[in-house]
Amino acid sequence: MTELGERIAVLRDEVLDVVAGGSEDAPAVAIFDAIVRTLSAGLDTALGLDLTLHDAVARRLAWGDSEQLILDDADRVFARLAKAAQRALRDPDEEMLVLEAAADVVCSTGRILGLAAVGRASRDRAATLREELAQRRLREALEEQAGNLRRLKEEIASNDFQ
């Protein structure tokens, strides 16, 4: 980890507000860790290629957190980190690096969530089509059943083969 990454990592509890939140594993920890990773890699990562962040966001979605909730967490991490960095870092160059990394990660999170949402929408649309096909078959079956029921009732009522 670079020296700047280490110094930002020290601000972890403050930025994630774990004291007020009362948890060691705050929900936005993945976003903060991604910022530290970006700083440690010297802002040299290819955009959107932080698979760890991708996995963490996917895991939260799988656990039932909404996209909006995760987005809110990312926004808060950005706001708190920007304030913490402004106060904690003396070197303007370092503060610029942190802002750059934070904006990078927040935008990446937005991209991951946006693409996850459209992916989910595609799956939903395909699933809706499948449901509609199933409904068509079920309606056909219902029509057949209605015919059979009618016929059976008639046959029983007529009692013509007893």
């Binding site: 403050e14 004291v19 957190d65 990312a74 950005f78 937005g110 969530l113 459209v118 509609e132 083969f161």
Partner: protein, 625 residues
Amino acid sequence: MTLAIAGYGDSHVGAVRDTNEDALIVDGKWGLYAVLDGMGGASAGDVASTKARDVIHEYVRARRGALAPRQLLEAAINAASAAVHGEAQRRRDRRGMGTTVVACLIDGRRATIAHVGDSRAYLLRDGRLHRLTNDHTIVAELVARGAIKPEEADRHAYKNVLSRNLGAKATAAVDVNELELAPGDRLMLCSDGLYGYASSEALHQLIASTDAGADVVRDLIEAALRGGGGDNVTAILIDAGAQAVPRATVVLQTSGAGAWWARRERLLAAARAYGVHRSPLCAMLPPDDAIALVAGNFADAVYHDLEKGTSVNVWTFVENLAAGWLGRGGAWPPLRDLLDGLARSADAVIRELRAEDAALAGLIEGALARAMVNAETAAGGVLALRLRAVEAELVRRDAERSRAQAEVTSKFIDQPTVPFMRAVEAPPEPPAPDVAQLLEGARRRALGRPAATQDRALFARTVEHIHRIATSSSEAEAAVIARELFDVRSLDEAGVTPLYDALDAARAAHVDAVRAVPGAMAGKVAALRRLAAAYQRLSSAITGLVVEAVAPSAEALRTAAAATAELRAQVAKNEQRVADLERKFATIIDDDLPAGMRFDLGLDKPRRAEPPPLPRRRPSKETQR
């Protein structure tokens, strides 16, 4: 030559808490003194501190003489850490419990002081108070690393978060100091409930007073309680031999207090002349009562302080005055003016005294100056309390608002994660002229750069829009712009990706442009701060829009799935009806069945052990299916 060591200690639950999680050892026989401050909640804090106290006490008693004091204290504290850690591991409800410790072992003239956590040791020598321990807190480490300034440490949100304690691990990193005691030295061990609620000036004044140790301990705890008493308070005072009282103090106690008391009426007259009774703080009182109450109490407080060699009475007087006035919503300037009026009145008395005894007047003037500095600090403490109360109220309201927003009824899990405190954000203000100029320069440069995206027009629009958000003072700007950029596009990867690509390309170009544009570094940082926030807002708004746009797909799926389930239930129901009718039909044509069972299935129970089979079913489409 050995010193006569005398130790006094006391502990108080404080004004806010229900349980006292502090513990102390005052054992003159073995020369062991310690303060422990437990933590861990759910009644585990007091378990940790008392367990550690017992282990340390027992360990020292058992091995005193077998080990050198330094090794003995270190080993005793480590044994306590192992014991607390073991207990925390055994009991689930005690996980995470721990305690701080500051311990002093006195052997002849040698004092060995060991500590872990933020309980402190102080030494009073020659009238000066020295802190012997460094707090093991995150904030202290941040200060040591230069990440924050020392003056920011008191305001820091994590000022009480420990970096070391007893119980977190089986062993503890113990800091040990040794010092040679001199006659008249006074050692003080305390928990953070003391120094956190009584100012360092008040501590200094009280420890330096010539009162007996037990009285000083009582006064110290009272000072912390007056300061709010938000935590358990524990203090131990250790006197090494008789305290050498400075000659000046003796003079003040013997002659100064009397000389001051003799001029009490002069002080009241001076206070009237300086208009103390016209202060807004005395608005409800007749002038004579105002002078008697304010200036009279001030004169009494100064007299008692001169008599005892402290400033604590003036401190208390001003603190009560400030708490009453500021508590009613009073402003700071009238209080400051009143304190100035009292100080000027005291000056008038000293001027008069100087004509008679210049030396004594000089001593009283010094003592008064010290008392007035402490008085201002006391008023400052009350102001700080008021600020803390406002801050706590803001945090409470914000937490309530966040909780209200987090209530989403359709969620799979009602509260899947711990609510994350919303940062308190001020509405954006327009940029300063130099920053606006830098932002304009960055915009031009960014537009002039080659775009790292295929859609050059979208890139240019994004740069322009970001510039608008960064220079706007409206929070809604990003949402409006996101809708404009989103335009009409397919809700799939191919439709959405260009938006994010343009955003990333614009961000990279913008950041480079800010670095390249000529200007002061501070301005550049301010410009980048605004730009980074603008990108965050726009990215967030675009993603919010995407999420909003795909919501109907999920709704459509839910509706379709519900309709399918309904149809499926209907088919199953009909299937059952068909099967019933078929069975009925089969019994009609089954010759083997008793006649009574025909047309009467379900009403006339069959007497056979097994239900009748369904023979000779008429082959039909529905039964084959």
